[in-house]
């Protein structure tokens, strides 16, 4: 195998892929990347077995071939090379790079050892605008569970149905759900549970401006945009019925300035227990009173103006959960809904009428028990 490539193309290709390489692995070949030189282009692939990334970049291919080489080292070399064409040659399992007066030889491993990325057909998939997909991921993926006991909740639910596209994530304590119009390209239905690691790669690699093609087979999903593809296995199982836990009978509503709410919560969190982050919020007509009392540490109190009608309500929250949710609300004000101190609270952005654009965003936060 040999090919000549611009330093820039080589570096960009390697940078795209090397972030998918595991830092620690018991399978040495996984710390390598796969280089495949074919007609006029080089494909670079890397994987940690759960998520794979492949990118194509133009090159002048002298002799076709495949090779694996240490990914991080190649990337570091490519970054430091002078801006001149790079000549890449294989010699057995070794790779040689020449660029100007620099020359490197690195030991690789037989290409046969490299795991195959899943073959996912994009023919029967659907498309989504990059901006829409990235927004869905950004607003929901943070809420996935890190607990290993319920693997289903470790993934983001991605639903396509009734002309809508929706992502949902929860750890059983709080939930984020976003729905957007699916557009014409996404017909049919789908219900996928996607590992957040793959969605992170999508966020990292894909541009808002580009269309993203999505393809799937029985248990894999592929994303393609521009020259780059991200593959992942899907999490198997049935996602819990989230519709059922979204309260329909909340009857107390508060409209709160997001910034001042978030900073008040942040202040309270300083004095909250590191472990539980428990704070108490009292909703009263026109005012929200935040208090925190942590044995052995101290107490705090704050008040902000809000719009609130209805019965006063005292409710306990994990401050970290509130802050997370508030971070992804991108409006000046948010609306909170309650029924009772032991029931789920809803938080949603407040948009002027007509500006929703069919986008629905809703978060739930389950309260913490309050002590009297």
């Amino acid at each position: 195998m040999n090919f000549t490539i611009t330093r820039k193309n080589l570096h960009q290709g390697l940078a795209a892929v090397s972030a998918s390489i595991p830092t620690k692995t018991t399978l040495p070949v996984l710390s390598n990347i796969l280089l495949e030189a074919t007609d006029g282009q080089v494909r670079i692939s890397g994987t940690d077995l759960d998520v794979g990334v492949r990118t194509r970049t133009p090159a002048e291919v002298g002799q076709e071939g495949v090779l694996t080489a240490p990914g991080k080292k190649l990337q570091e070399i490519a970054r430091e090379l002078p801006d001149e064409p790079v000549q890449v040659t294989s010699q057995g399992d070794q790779i040689e790079l020449r660029c100007g007066r620099s020359r490197f030889k690195l030991n690789g491993l037989p290409a046969d050892d490299f795991p195959n990325l899943p073959e996912v057909s994009f023919e029967e998939g659907w498309n989504a605008p990059g901006q829409v997909l990235l927004s869905l991921v950004q607003h929901t993926a943070f809420a996935v569970s890190t607990e290993e006991s319920r693997p289903i909740l470790n993934g983001v639910l991605w639903e396509l149905k009734d002309g809508q596209m929706r992502m949902v994530a929860t750890n059983g304590h709080r939930l984020a759900k976003m729905t957007v119009p699916a557009g014409s390209s996404a017909q049919g239905g789908a219900e996928l549970i996607v590992p957040p690691a793959a969605l992170q790669q999508v966020q990292r690699l894909f541009e808002k401006e580009n269309e993203v093609h999505v393809g799937r087979d029985a248990n894999h999903l592929g994303f393609r945009s521009g020259n780059t593809e991200v593959y992942t296995r899907l999490i198997e199982g049935t996602y819990p019925n989230y519709e059922q836990v979204i309260p329909k009978d909340n009857d107390k509503w508060a409209v709160v300035d997001r910034e001042s709410f978030a900073s008040a919560v942040r202040r309270m969190a300083v004095v909250a227990s590191d472990q539980t982050h428990r704070i108490r919020i009292g909703f009263h007509q026109g005012a929200m009173r935040l208090t925190v009392l942590t044995p052995d540490l101290g107490e705090g109190e704050d008040e902000i103006e809000i719009q609130y009608e209805g019965e006063p309500l005292e409710i306990g929250f994990n401050a970290a959960y509130l802050l997370e949710v508030l971070r992804y609300m991108d409006t000046e004000e948010v609306k909170m809904g309650f029924k009772a101190p032991e029931r789920a609270a809803t938080i949603e952005p407040v948009r002027p009428d007509g500006e929703e654009g069919g986008v629905e965003y809703l978060c739930l936060v389950m309260p913490l028990r309050l002590l009297d």
């Binding site: 836990v245 472990q275 044995p295």
Partner: protein
């Protein structure tokens, strides 16, 4: 009418008293050695022949007696230690009944040789079964030697009860061990025929005496205890929890330089160990009490092995809390070190240092846990590159490092700590949940998707029985009919918490019992222990730097950071000293 009431001749009265005071060679030795200590001896030698049945000799270098005193000392109720009834309260010396010498003399062939300071010549007295046979001059150094030959030669019924020489020797040696611990500042030599049983040079303090008796290693695994409450003072040494084993233990209590027995105080000390040792472990305990005159009655029984306290409950609570406090410190942590310094006891200010028993070494401040930058350079002699400090920089908090996803290494001022993340978290959760019970309940996160669990009928019954206590721990659980329960809210002790698994394991343990939950005192503690054990971060769980830091901080905010709730260590220390030894610095 003939008279039936007689005044007993002294010799008979003495023999009767001897029944109380003198049971066997060990009690003779004890009385004689106590007299020697009362005479401010710096060195006491005890020699036994035939297990003490043939002869017992106790020699001291105390202040001795003049001839008149020596003769008087053999009279009943002759004592130099007390004059009137009021003196009985707050007696600081050992003897004060004036019974021991005449009693012993009445059942043996005794030879007393003594010379007081300032006397030209000493006095020798021979007594045969209580009758003075001979008084004369002897040449000797200052001090007193009492030789007791043929104990019970004139009381065959008593002689019959004596055991074999080996057994009697053993009893003497035990009694002497107690006296030697109570008086570290005095040198002791105990010989039995030609065998040296104890050879204890004068020691600086109790730790040194322990080292003399059982070796440096045994001494190094003891932790100093200090306590004070009202007019009571407590000092001593207790064993590091990780070294406590089931079975035989060494436990000694002293007061005013005398050993005494009081099982209730040992039990109080054991209570101080609660949750730091497995339930059957029997840690070593050496405690010295000091009380203001009047608050104790030390004259309970002629053998004076028991002490009666005015307010026993407060003594017990002092012992328990002082032991507990001793286990809070870093010295009580398990260690990798093969050689450790002996524990140091704080000096008692204004102590008389005489019969005070546990006399102190240099006062020593608590070892600092965290690196204090400005102290980093002291004691660095012998290291290469004096001017560049080694690892000890100007750190404020220790560097932490998770290894094998199970342990946390921490650099501290005096070395390294290896922390078991699971054990550490157990301690944290246990204390937090116990505190939460007092404060109305632990944190409880309501679940979006309540958990429905099927349990065995016995477990369901436990859930019902314990539902209030479980709720306090954060589990809101209700029966759902049959063998099904629903968890609506759960605690959230860490981000990797698996509520279902933890709850199932808890219910299994609480239903079927385990060594751990059997050691609990009440239902709250049972549930807290089980919760801590089943819910703590597991070994093998990777933790972020922040999580490691938080675990470390919370561990050291607990009362007993060095011990988990099973009686295992949470922390094992490796001192800089040990590292230096290993690398031959």
């Amino acid at each position: 009418m003939s008279r039936t009431i007689h005044v007993l001749p002294d010799a008979v009265a003495n023999q009767i008293a001897a029944g109380e005071v003198v049971e066997r060679p060990a009690s003779v030795v004890k009385e004689l050695v106590e007299n020697a200590l009362d005479a401010s001896a710096r060195r006491v030698e005890v020699v036994l022949e035939g297990g003490g049945k043939r002869a017992i000799r106790v020699a001291d270098d105390g202040w001795g007696m003049g001839r008149e005193d020596a003769l008087l000392s053999l009279d009943r109720h002759a004592t130099s230690k007390i004059r009137k009834a009021e003196d009985l309260r707050g007696v600081a010396t050992f003897g004060f009944r004036g019974e021991a010498l005449p009693s012993i003399a009445s059942v043996s062939r005794m030879k007393l040789e003594t010379r007081a300071r300032g006397e030209e010549v000493g006095t020798g007295i021979r007594v045969e079964g209580g009758r003075i046979a001979d008084v004369g001059d002897v040449a000797r150094t200052r001090g007193t030697t009492v030789e007791v030959g043929r104990l019970f030669f004139n009381a065959p019924a008593r002689a019959k009860f004596l055991r074999s020489p080996a057994v009697e020797t053993r009893a003497v040696s035990d009694a002497m061990t107690g006296l030697a611990l109570a008086n570290p500042g005095v040198a002791f030599l105990v010989r039995s025929d030609d065998r040296v049983l104890l050879d204890l040079p004068e020691a600086a303090d109790l730790p040194e005496r322990v080292a003399q008796l059982w070796g440096e290693e045994a001494a190094a695994e003891l932790v100093p205890v200090h306590g004070e409450e009202g007019e009571l003072r407590l000092r001593g040494l207790v064993q590091r929890p990780d070294r406590a084993r089931p079975g035989f233990r060494r436990a000694h209590l002293f007061m005013a330089g005398r050993p005494f027995r009081e099982p209730a105080l040992l039990q109080a000390a054991d209570r101080g160990y609660r949750t730091t040792v497995p339930s059957q472990a029997r840690p070593w305990i050496f405690l010295e009490l000091e009380a203001a005159a009047g608050s104790v009655d030390v004259n309970v029984h002629p053998t004076k092995a028991e002490v009666r306290f005015g307010n026993r409950a407060s003594v017990e609570s002092l012992v328990e809390s002082a032991v507990r406090r001793a286990l809070e410190g870093e010295e009580s942590a398990a260690t990798f070190d093969r050689e450790l310094p002996r524990p140091r006891l704080r000096v008692r200010e204004g102590g008389d240092g005489q019969n005070g028993g546990v006399s102190g070494g240099e006062s020593e401040s608590q070892m600092a846990l965290f690196l204090a930058g400005d102290e980093a350079t002291e004691g660095d002699e012998g290291r290469a590159g004096e001017d560049e400090p080694l690892v000890q920089g100007t750190l404020e908090a220790p560097r932490l490092w998770q290894v094998h996803r199970s342990y946390i290494m921490a650099e501290v001022r005096d070395g390294l700590l290896v922390i078991d993340q699971h054990a550490a978290h157990e301690r944290i959760l246990f204390e937090e949940i116990m505190e939460a019970y007092d404060g109305g309940g632990g944190v409880s996160q309501r679940l979006l998707f309540p958990l429905t669990l099927r349990l065995s009928p016995a477990e369901c019954a436990q859930v019902e029985a314990l539902s209030g206590v479980l709720q306090g721990a954060g589990f809101e659980v209700e029966g759902f009919g049959g063998d099904t329960v629903i968890l609506r809210a759960v605690p959230h002790p860490h981000p990797y918490f698996d509520a279902e698994r933890s709850f199932r394991e808890m219910m299994d343990e609480l239903t079927h019992g385990s060594e751990l939950v059997r050691s609990a005192r009440n239902q709250h503690e049972r549930v807290a222990m089980s919760f801590a054990c089943k819910s703590a971060i597991k070994a093998g769980q990777p933790l972020s730097d922040e999580e490691v830091q938080e675990l470390f901080d919370r561990l050291f905010a607990t009362e007993l950071p060095y011990h988990d709730v099973h009686g295992r260590p949470t922390v094992v220390r490796l001192s800089s000293g040990e590292l230096e030894r290993k690398f031959g610095r």
